[in-house]
């Protein structure tokens, strides 16, 4: 392994870490603003112009708050749980191509940390490991509401991994590769080549399970404030709670990258236009996460399971079978 590659990778890792932790903060700002506008409010207005510095204020607050470890909690697990959420969210980013390759001072940069040949599997696997954060944090908290939240996490965890995997199986069969770059190449021919046209069902299924993966409304029941306080986050304070938050928002951004990369042509032919297109699609999916939060109610845990096992999973299986038959003949 030559040192240029090593240095390049380290720089990429640092850049991704910095950009996405900042974006996670700014994501909370967008969320507050958009939710506020949809509810005819103004949202944060007082810190900085139009409340822009609210993110910095929250950051300072979270960093300087006392880190409380309550009695009766299982201390090591309680301490490690938020780190799992945040770390796995960023680890998932390693296999995502954020932009097409571009040249800086005659040196070609691939904006992907590692183009592993099991890209999608790795991304989804990492996001699934991220569920251990709420699960362990909730069980270690010595709090009934946290425990309930941990149980719900396990339910979502088991159910929606099935739907995610099965819905992606059909596009994977068509492309014949698990690398997200190969997915992008497959659709590089323009809008007509997008997988969403041949796999609309898989697209919708994956989109639905993306809400479960990130724990957003309407599948926000892991930390439903109006039922179980803050779920797994109830006993957390300060930066540990902040890590859960960063993990959640980073996950939202990454899954918003993954959906267009798989189904909507990604960055297309790799031109500047294609790169902007990918960012535009990403913004739409991120916006949609906030949009549904303003519009839709949450489902109950039993409805969630019902939806997964009785509706989405059969549809996903049928979709895979039909795709197989079509490819065979």
């Amino acid at each position: 392994m030559d040192s240029a590659y090593l240095i390049e990778t380290i720089i990429k890792v640092v850049v991704i870490l910095l950009i996405f932790s900042a974006l996670a903060g700014i994501g909370t700002y967008f969320e507050r603003k958009i939710l506020a506008f949809m509810q005819r409010r103004l949202g944060p207005m007082n810190v900085g112009p139009y409340g822009l510095l609210q993110v910095a204020a929250d950051g300072i607050k979270l960093f300087t708050k006392e880190d409380i470890i309550p009695t009766n909690v299982v201390t090591p697990i309680f301490k490690i749980a938020p780190v799992i959420t945040a770390a796995t969210a960023f680890m998932a980013a390693a296999a995502i191509p954020f932009l097409p390759p571009f040249e800086v001072f005659g040196y070609e940069v691939h904006p992907i940390v590692a183009d592993v040949n099991i890209g999608i599997l790795y991304v989804l696997g990492m996001m699934a490991v991220g569920f251990y954060g709420p699960l362990l944090g909730g069980m270690a908290s010595a709090n009934k509401f946290s425990l309930l939240s941990a149980a719900r996490t396990a339910a979502v965890f088991i159910s929606y991994e099935v739907v995610t995997g099965l819905s992606l199986l059909a596009p994977i069969m068509m492309v014949g590769s698990l690398s997200l770059i190969d997915f992008n190449e497959y659709q590089a021919g323009g809008i007509g080549d997008w997988i969403v046209w041949s796999q609309p069902v898989a697209f919708i299924l994956f989109w639905i399970s993306a809400f479960a993966e990130t724990g957003r409304t309407p599948f926000h029941l892991i930390a439903n404030d109006h039922e179980i306080i803050d779920g797994f986050g109830t006993e957390y304070s300060g930066m540990r709670w902040g890590l859960f938050f960063i993990g959640e928002y980073a996950n939202m951004f990454f899954i918003s990258f993954v959906i267009p990369l798989i189904f909507l042509g990604g960055y297309g032919d790799g031109s500047l236009f294609g790169a902007l297109g990918l960012l535009g699609k990403m913004s739409f999916f991120f916006f949609f996460f906030l949009w549904t939060r303003a519009a839709w109610p949450d489902v109950r845990p039993d409805q969630l399971m019902w939806l997964c096992w009785k509706i989405l999973m059969p549809i996903a299986v049928i979709n895979v079978v039909i795709t197989g038959f079509v490819m065979m003949f």
Partner: protein, 205 residues
Amino acid sequence: MSLEAFNNRNVAEGDYFLVAIEEYPTTGWDKFKRVVKRTFKGELFVGLWVVLREMIRFDIHTVQYPQEKMPIGPRYRAVHQMKRLWESNTERCIGCGLCEKICISDCIRMDTKIDENSRKEVTEYTINLGRCIFCGYCAEVCPELAITHSGEYENASEQREHFIIYEDMLTPIDKMKAGKQLEFEGFGAITPHEDERVKKTPLAY
């Protein structure tokens, strides 16, 4: 606009109707049909459209409080004031003690003495605003229109003992001399058309 609609307490009549609620499905086939109907009816998109419409309209209702304030009614009952006489600029309170007596939360404390002119003089007068429920009885009972409420609702201090002493409630003498004392229109005040309603005292019995 007539007040008819507001005065009519008989809610059983009028525009009320029962909402039609469909029967809950019992058989599996009916449940399945309901699921399919709900899936393809697009109700979720109605919700999405409503919030997006509000965002595009940008019809914001926020009142940015310290910079903007909502108008409050002239009869609003916030922190008390002690008024002065227009003729002589002296305090209206005659120390009769009625307000102390009527206060239902027992939060007015006062003390009086006979001064050198053999007039009753108020020496101590405090209202414990932490207990006051702002009912307005004290303003209502005061025979001199001395104690009234005001529209002042912003108070802050690091000591609750600061709320509230006589000197803080009393109209400042310079404001009084400038003729800027405002009469309170709410509890205890004389209604505007009182002159027409005055009748002769019936002395016949």
